[in-house]
């Protein structure tokens, strides 16, 4: 089977489901405020993009997401490394980390908006907070996954602990870290949107709220469409980086992804 043929098949399936949707809405006379037809969604999307309102708000959300991702991921990597390397830190820190992780962090968003205001900061903090956990857990698991034989080899060469970290533990943890980053990127987007829902002056989340409030369901759908495309693109960035970094890892799809599933949500 050729790749081009598969891509064609994929497009046909999408076109077919859109056509079915359009037909069902029209034939059953579903009101626009319940389920708009695809044509209405695309019209709303076109108008929003032409008026630059969508694009401006898209940049806001993207900016919040990226900043939150960087902040959350850096913190998660640092803390994960400290916990993985020191049993003592783990002993004192880990109970709090687990307690915090089991907390539904979406419920924290109103509090964060109260603390950090309606502007950029509260969105970045919320995005960072939600992106933090999957990567931290994966960093810990990854750094601890170094095989005993490999550690023994390094020790037999009289390697220092920091050399074992840089030459063995960290590269060995990369499949786990990349899987964690993949989840963290999507989580950062969710975190930013949730904080926008709670209270904000700009962003796609704010826009969805406003359009819903005005009964413009087609408009809300058009934003959701943009959000899912944005999520897909952000994910693709990580996937491309992962393929480059992990060219050597044949088993990334099994071991590391299982670990990320364990860490998710």
């Amino acid at each position: 089977m050729s790749g081009a043929r598969n891509a064609m098949l994929r497009l046909c399936l999408i076109a077919l489901s859109l056509a079915l949707w359009e037909a069902a809405v029209r034939l059953l006379a579903v009101p626009v405020y319940v389920l708009p037809p695809p044509s209405g969604i695309f019209t709303a999307l076109y108008r929003g993009i032409v008026s630059t309102v969508y694009v401006q708000n898209l940049w806001v959300t993207l900016y919040e997401t990226i900043l939150g991702f960087i902040a959350g991921a850096s913190l998660a990597f640092l803390l994960g490394t400290v916990v993985a390397l020191s049993r003592r830190t783990e002993y004192f820190l880990y109970p709090y980390i687990i307690m915090f992780q089991s907390l539904p962090k979406v419920a924290l968003a109103p509090l964060i908006v109260v603390w950090f205001g309606l502007g950029l900061t509260s969105k970045v903090v919320n995005a960072a907070l939600i992106a933090f956990f999957p990567l931290m857990v994966n960093t810990i698991v990854g750094l601890r996954s170094a095989e005993e034989d490999r550690v023994n080899l390094m020790r037999s060469l009289d390697a220092r602990e920091w050399q074992i970290f840089w030459m063995l533990r960290l590269p060995g943890a990369l499949p786990f870290i990349m899987a964690g980053l993949e989840v963290a990127m999507i989580f950062a987007l969710i975190g930013a949107i949730v904080a926008e829902f709670v209270g904000s002056q700009a962003g796609l989340g704010m826009l969805v709220q406003t359009l819903n409030f005005n009964g413009d369901v087609a408009g809300a759908f058009s934003i959701l469409l943009m959000l899912s495309v944005l999520g897909l693109l952000l994910n693709q960035i990580i996937v491309v980086v992962r393929r480059r970094v992990l060219f050597w890892d044949a088993s990334e799809k099994t071991a590391a992804n299982d670990a990320s599933k364990g860490a998710a949500l």
Partner: protein, 276 residues
């Protein structure tokens, strides 16, 4: 039974002139572990010496403590009694003048063949250019010229283990410790690797301590075979193998070879059929 083929260690001539000080001297070495149900003695009363440039095989069934012994020699485990020394200095921890080959190749998949081989040079911060040259030279010695920029997963098991041997040699260690390095290979590849190892050894003349549970492998490769019995791990006998070198695989069908194998096997038969 032929006299030429083997002789008890005590009366055996050294295979080649030994230096005044042995490379390795092990005296009354013991190792015991504490477990929940009391202590377990892994090694007891181990005494032997290895001459510079000698090939010593340590042979025994699983659980006789031979891997423990190798870890102590590599400085990865402390002994609980007695002493092991290398060139007169006690082995108290990992040393830079020892190369270790493990049962599995233990290659890092994110490093190319060349960079795997250069790992000891990276860890010990030895001159890059010079060791790269040595790495190329050694890789071609083991028939891996042209594979320098390949990755471990692109190589067969036998090739991977050859990379591991080259890695153990690249920093020019005084001694090579090998822990059942060919145990995971199929029988045909294993014989080829034995020939190859002999060739490398004849060319480089490193002191080698080689652990195995295969009697023919030990007799084929070694100048002397140290036979160990389990629970606790003790030395049963040290058998000198005076077969001429280089040995071909045909040596295995000679009476001298058979006699050495038979003599070693007797130690295990006597203890209830622990035949390797």
């Amino acid at each position: 039974m032929s006299r030429a083929g083997l002789a008890p260690a005590g009366e055996a001539r050294e295979p080649r002139p030994a230096s005044v000080q042995p490379m390795i001297a092990v005296r009354r070495l013991a190792k015991s572990y504490a477990t929940k149900r009391g202590g377990v003695v892994a090694l007891e009363d181990i005494d032997f010496a290895v001459a510079e440039g000698e090939f010593l095989a340590i042979l025994g069934p699983s659980g006789c403590g031979k891997s423990t012994l190798l870890k102590i020699l590599a400085g990865l485990l402390p002994a609980t009694g007695g002493e092991a020394s290398l060139r007169g200095t006690p082995i108290a921890g990992p040393r830079r003048d020892i190369g270790v080959v493990f049962q599995s190749p233990v290659l890092f998949p994110w490093r190319s063949v060349l960079h795997n081989v250069l790992l000891p040079a990276d860890v010990q911060r030895l001159g890059r250019a010079e060791h790269e040259r040595i790495a190329f030279e050694l890789l071609s010695l083991v028939g891996l010229a042209g594979f320098e920029h390949r990755y471990p997963w692109e190589l067969s098991g036998g090739m991977q283990q050859r990379v591991a041997i080259v890695r153990a040699l690249v920093h020019d260690p005084a001694m090579l410790l090998m822990d059942e390095p060919f145990g995971a290979l199929d029988a045909m590849t294993r014989e080829q690797m034995n020939l190859e190892l002999q060739r490398i050894w004849l060319e480089r003349r490193k002191t080698v301590v080689f652990i195995t549970h295969s009697i023919p492998e030990a007799v084929f490769l070694a100048d002397r075979v140290l036979v160990m019995t389990p629970r606790p791990g003790r030395i049963a006998e040290i058998v000198a193998v005076d077969l001429p070198r280089p040995r071909s695989l045909d040596v295995m069908s000679t009476p001298d070879f058979g006699a050495a194998v038979k003599r070693i096997r007797a130690h295990f038969n006597a203890r209830g059929g622990l035949v390797a």
